[in-house]
Each structure stands twice: as structure tokens, then as C-alpha cells.
């Protein structure tokens, strides 16, 4: 899509997804540079000296310039990179699978505090296992019941760190 829009034809110089990334890189550099005055506080002076030695803007500026320079070089190089767009090779089904798992992950995190680690893990783990194609009761019981409880008790009781507790606690 991009190659048709930007490069066109069968000439050796073709825009690929790399070109887009390179342009994004330059844009990022410019954005970082423009944000610096608004997003970085200067340290107070103590006995008339900068108390940090260097300004906290020094490395952000280096990174911004780096993004712009590398982005420019990358842009030039990308015109000679003949790499196919990896995202177009994926079948629609793969995108469906990815979406399902990503939604499950986000739900998992959202439910973590309200339901507690063990319950939310049980839900998500057995759902993913089912979706993945497992129909083995023992297998699903293992990832959906035994593993969440085991991890929960191992972490909270034996390793004395905290995971979100059961809702009735």
C-alpha cells in the first residue's frame, strides 16, 4: 500500500514500511525536542552551582538529535530495502487470534484487583487454554485451578510478597 502510494512503479528506489518507520523516527525526534521546554524541570542551584552537574535536558536533547539523524539515514537506506511488509503476510485469522488474546490480557489486568490474582488468573488461563484448542479436562484444570492457586500461595505465603487477594478477604 505504502509502496504504491510513495514509490510507485518498478524503479529500484521504493518506499517500504521501513520508510514509514524512518519518518516516524524523525517525527519522534522533533516531538521530543519540542516537548523539552514544557516537560523538563531544571534543578535548583545550591551555592550558586547547578546541583545536578548537567541539565536534565542534556540527554533528552541528545536523544532528539539522535532520532532525527538516524531517522534521516534510515530514510535514505529504506529506499533500497526490499523487505516485504510482514503485517500483510498474516492471514485475517491470525489477527483475530491476536485480538482475542490481547483483549483477554487487558481484561485480566482490569479484573486483577476486583477478583484477586487467583480468580482472575483462573478465568483467563482456562479461557485461553480453551480458545487455544485444548479439550483435556485435566489440562484445563491444571492451568485454570492448580496453577493459579499454587502461584498465589507460593508467592504470598512462602515468598512473602503480595498479590491481589481473594475478593472475600
Amino acid at each position: 500500500m505504502f509502496s504504491e502510494a510513495n514509490g510507485g512503479g518498478g524503479r529500484p528506489l521504493r518506499a517500504s514500511y521501513n520508510t514509514v518507520v524512518a519518518l516516524g523516527c524523525i517525527a519522534l525526534g522533533v516531538a521530543v525536542w519540542l516537548m523539552i521546554p514544557y516537560q523538563v524541570q531544571e534543578p535548583p542551584a545550591i551555592f550558586g552551582q547547578n546541583s545536578s552537574g548537567i541539565s536534565p535536558t542534556l540527554f533528552p536533547r541528545i536523544a532528539a538529535i539522535g532520532f532525527i539523524l538516524i531517522g534521516a539515514l534510515y530514510f535514505v537506506a529504506s529506499l533500497r530495502m526490499n523487505e516485504p511488509n510482514p503485517f500483510r503476510e498474516l492471514p485475517a485469522l491470525a489477527y483475530g487470534n491476536l485480538a482475542v488474546v490481547l483483549v483477554a490480557m487487558v481484561l485480566y489486568v482490569a479484573l486483577l484487583r476486583p477478583l484477586g490474582y487467583a480468580l482472575s488468573s483462573a478465568l483467563v488461563a482456562s479461557a485461553i487454554s480453551l480458545y487455544y484448542g485444548s479439550r483435556n479436562v485435566f489440562g484445563i484444570a491444571f492451568v485454570g485451578v492448580v496453577a493459579p492457586l499454587a502461584i498465589y500461595y507460593l508467592f504470598t505465603r512462602m515468598l512473602t510478597v503480595s498479590l491481589p487477594p481473594f475478593p472475600w478477604n
Binding site: 546541583s51 510482514p86 490480557m105 487455544y132 485454570g144
Partner: protein, 516 residues
């Protein structure tokens, strides 16, 4: 000194001492293998146990946990591409690739042997020349740290797999992520975008678990593959390490050990830096550098030996000055002090035998690590035989638990998912995310060291470096030479390799034409 050593050796050659080291080690391996659990956390949890043991039992017990924990951290890095710590990131360059090739057992065994040798030799060397190392360690200050960090960032980019430009892009992205929150020196608010929660910055664990573990899950789910191992094998965990393979890797292991021993004198980031330096050096010296990143045995041996070779020198400031250089030695300091042993110059005079006994227990621990690890690797390497329909949800459970426990913040988990999507896209597009992780880990100490150097110089940085920092000047002069040398050597290698492939193909075509 030899009398002291002999006396010390007698002191630890007791069954209960060995049993305590072994017990600590098993604990360390299992806890270290849990994503999100660092060796430091494992040691902090068991520290009170050591309070109630006599010194010669309590401290070797902690040392067992320490050594076991570091090896344990490499296990998920190799098997499921989840590095639990920065030090294990370099191991993911070749470890998971070996697993996919059906060589998980071999990969674990070479990691084990390389770690143990690296650790043993560096601890042994430390015992012999502890005074010298202590003297050199005092010469490493902020300017030296800054110079060495800049050098290692450049080496990481030059030797990362794939295109140099893509590596640089990732490095700058990593540095930018590290800038979010507060600046490391003055804690001034920086890029918080108005959210107070962002002032604590992005944490390492969500970053690496997100960049490594989540893409593994996403790649697996794309086509709902059944097993990790791509090659068809009767035994998916693969063969053991062969003697010949070990012999061939020995040069790499020794080179990495030497590098790690030197870099170990940099406090704090020694392990991370030396793992990458060891890897780059091995790739640079190899006759087949193009195989690195695709499951090369030496690509696992090199970082593992290097990051463990750091262990000897990091103990030196603790023992000679009573100064802990990192969190692990801080906990050991707590254990020493709780036993009534105050590390420092006087400790060697007052308690020489006990100190040497503890140092020797580090050597014994390395030997025990090989034995225990050898017995446990078959168990761990079976992980790859678990059907992905169960392994994928299990990985997710561990990733979430491991990310959450660090600071109990659900925000970290959303970060983890976001980094996961980013890492997935980056890998699709041929970007290697390791320079990103390195930029992220190394920027704050670099920024700190540069700021300190400017303050130390009181306004005349150049004069200060020339006048009183010979090591810095040497590193600064050496940096361009070294980078140019590595880059040109790699360029030549890659061209030669491409030519060889072309020649080979031509020959094959010729041969094919003849048989037709």
C-alpha cells in the same frame, strides 16, 4: 597465607556446610527461575534464617541462594525467552533460538558449565589478588564509569544482530523510555505528561517481560502452534552437551571470564555490561559470526560466563572496605553484620580464617552448582514438551504475577501489555529489541556518572580528566579505535560470508546440473 587457606578449607569441608550451600542453591534456582523474582528478593526473604545460624553456615547458605538464583534466572531466558534480570538479556540472543532448534537441554547445560567456570575462575582469582583488585576498584569513579558505559553502548549497537540503523533506533527508544519520570540525579520531574504516577518512571520488569514474554505468547497464538520446538524430534528437549562441543566453547568461556573479571569492578551495572561485552567479543572472534543469533552454542556460553565472572570482583569492596557495591552485596553485608562480623580492613586481620572460609565456600558453591544444575536440567528442559495450549496461559500467569509483585501497581501490567505489542511489531519488522533494553538500563547510570563527573571537576572537566583521571582518558582514546576495528572486522566477515554462500549455491547448482 597458605596456612590460613588450609585452615579455612578444613572449616568448610563439613557435611552441614555443604548441605546448607546445596539447600540454598536449590532454593535460589527455583526462585530465580520464577519471572519477576530476582536473586536480591530471594536473598532478602531468606536473610532472617541466616541470622539464627552460625556464621560458617548462614553466609554460605546465602551464597548458595545467590549462585543458584543467577543460574535460575537464565533458565526462563533460554527456555521461554523471558529474561528475569538485565544480566540475562544477552542470553536471550541465542538461548531461545537453541530451544526452538530442539536443543534446550544442551543450551541449559552449556549455560550451567559456562556460568560455573566463569564464576569459579573469577572467585579464585579474587582470592589470590584481592588486595590488588581493591586498589584498582578505588580508582574507578564516576568519570571511568561514564566512559565505560559509553563504550559498551556503542559496542552493543555495533554488534547487535540486524541492521546498524535499526539497532540505533532501538537504542534511542530505550534511552527515551528511561527518561520518563524523573532525572536520576536531582529527581526533577521529566516527561511525566501531567500524570503523577508516571514520575516513578517505567520499570525494568514490565519492560523486559513485555518485550520478551508477551511477543512469544502473541507469536504462538497467531497460528495456535502446538509446540515450542519447530524441528521434529522424538525428544523435544534434545541431546545433552557433548565433550567436543564443550572443548570448542572453552576459548569463548575463558575470554568472557577475563572480560567479566575486569568489568566486574564497575559497581552496579557490571553484570549487564559484561554479558554483552562477552557476547560481542565471542561473535567478533568467531569464524562463523553469521550463526550468532540463530542458536549458536557459544552465543549462550559467552554471556553466561561473562556475567558470572563479575561475581568475584563485586565481593571485593564488600570484604575489604565494608562497602556494598550492589543490592546483593548489601544483603550479604547485612548477614555479615548480623553475625557480628564487620567487613572492612580489620576483618581480614581479626577473622582471616573465617573470611577465607567464606571465600572458599564461593568456590565450593560453583562446584555444587554444576552437580545440582546437571541433575535439574532434565527437569527444566521438559518445560518445552508442555503443549502450548497450556504453556501459553502458564506463561501469562507467571508474567503477570512476576510483573505485579515488584511494586504492586496495575499500571505496570498495562505497560507490560503495551510493550508486548510493541515488541511483537518490532520483531515482525526485523528490529532487535536488545539495544532498547540496554539503552533503558544503561542511560540512568550514564546520566548520573556524567553529572557527577561535571560536579567533581568543579567547572574544568577537560583539565580534571587529563590531570587526575588516566583510566578515563585511556578508555576515551581507545573507544573509537575499538569500535572501528569491530565494525570493519564485522563488515569484512559479513561480506565474506555472503560470498561463501553465493559460491556454495553456485557449486550446488553446478553439481545439480551435472547429476541431471
Amino acid at each position: 597465607m597458605f596456612e590460613t587457606l588450609a585452615e579455612a578449607a578444613l572449616m568448610i569441608m563439613r557435611f552441614d556446610v555443604l548441605a546448607m550451600i546445596a539447600a540454598g542453591m536449590c532454593l535460589g534456582i527455583f526462585v530465580g527461575a520464577l519471572p519477576g523474582f530476582t536473586t536480591v528478593m530471594a536473598m532478602a526473604v531468606v536473610l532472617p534464617i541466616s541470622f539464627f545460624l552460625e556464621p560458617i553456615l548462614g553466609i554460605p547458605f546465602l551464597i548458595g541462594v545467590y549462585k543458584g538464583g543467577i543460574f535460575g534466572g537464565s533458565i526462563p531466558a533460554i527456555l521461554v525467552n523471558i529474561p528475569g534480570t538485565g544480566a540475562a538479556v544477552a542470553t536471550t540472543l541465542d538461548g531461545p533460538a537453541m530451544t526452538r532448534n530442539g536443543q534446550s537441554r544442551k543450551a541449559l547445560e552449556i549455560a550451567l558449565v559456562a556460568s560455573a567456570i566463569g564464576d569459579f575462575l573469577s572467585s579464585f582469582g579474587t582470592i589470590l589478588v584481592i588486595g590488588l583488585i581493591a586498589a584498582i576498584a578505588l580508582m574507578i569513579g564516576p568519570p571511568e564509569i561514564a566512559a565505560i558505559l559509553i563504550l559498551s553502548l556503542l559496542i552493543i549497537v555495533v554488534s547487535s544482530s540486524g541492521s546498524f540503523l535499526k539497532g540505533m533506533v532501538m537504542l534511542f527508544i530505550g534511552m527515551s523510555i528511561a527518561m520518563v519520570g524523573q532525572d536520576p540525579i536531582g529527581a526533577m520531574v521529566r516527561f511525566d505528561f501531567g500524570f503523577h504516577a508516571l514520575q516513578a518512571g517505567v520499570n525494568l520488569l514490565p519492560l523486559i517481560i513485555g518485550l520478551f514474554a508477551i511477543p512469544e505468547i502473541l507469536f504462538a497464538i497467531e497460528r495456535r502452534q502446538g509446540s515450542i520446538v519447530t524441528a521434529e524430534r522424538t525428544r523435544p528437549e534434545g541431546e545433552r552437551l557433548r565433550w567436543g562441543e564443550f572443548r570448542r566453547s572453552l576459548r569463548t568461556i575463558l575470554r568472557s571470564t577475563a572480560l567479566g573479571g575486569v568489568i566486574g569492578m564497575i559497581p552496579g551495572v557490571g553484570q549487564v555490561v559484561s554479558a554483552f561485552m562477552g557476547y560481542s567479543a565471542a561473535k567478533n572472534a568467531s569464524k562463523t559470526p553469521e550463526r550468532f543469533g540463530k542458536g549458536e552454542l557459544e552465543g549462550v556460553a559467552a554471556p553466561e560466563a561473562a556475567n558470572n565472572a563479575v561475581n568475584g570482583p563485586t565481593m571485593v569492596p564488600l570484604l575489604t572496605l565494608g562497602i556494598p557495591g550492589d543490592n546483593i552485596t548489601a544483603i550479604l553485608l547485612g548477614a555479615f553484620v548480623a553475625q557480628g562480623l564487620r567487613p572492612g580492613p580489620q576483618l581480614f586481620q581479626d577473622q582471616g580464617v573465617l573470611v577465607y572460609a567464606i571465600l572458599l565456600s564461593m568456590l565450593v558453591a560453583c562446584v555444587l552448582l554444576v552437580i545440582i544444575g546437571y541433575l535439574l536440567t532434565p527437569v527444566f528442559s521438559r518445560v518445552v514438551t508442555i503443549n502450548k495450549a497450556y504453556l501459553v496461559p502458564l506463561m501469562l500467569l507467571f508474567a503477570v504475577a512476576g510483573t505485579y509483585v515488584y511494586r504492586s501497581n496495575p499500571m505496570d501490567l498495562y505497560f507490560m501489555i503495551a510493550f508486548g505489542v510493541f515488541g511483537y511489531a518490532a520483531r515482525k519488522m526485523g528490529f532487535d529489541v536488545t539495544p532498547l533494553v540496554m539503552g533503558f538500563i544503561l542511560l540512568p547510570p550514564l546520566e548520573y556518572a556524567v553529572g557527577q563527573s561535571v560536579l567533581l571537576s568543579r567547572g574544568d572537566l577537560f583539565g580534571y580528566l587529563i590531570g587526575s583521571r588516566p583510566i578515563t582518558v585511556a578508555v576515551v582514546i581507545l573507544t573509537p579505535v575499538l569500535i572501528f576495528w569491530i565494525a570493519s572486522r564485522q563488515g569484512r566477515r559479513t561480506r565474506a560470508a555472503k560470498r561463501a554462500v553465493r559460491d556454495q549455491r553456485a557449486k550446488e547448482e553446478e553439481a545439480a546440473g551435472r547429476t541431471d
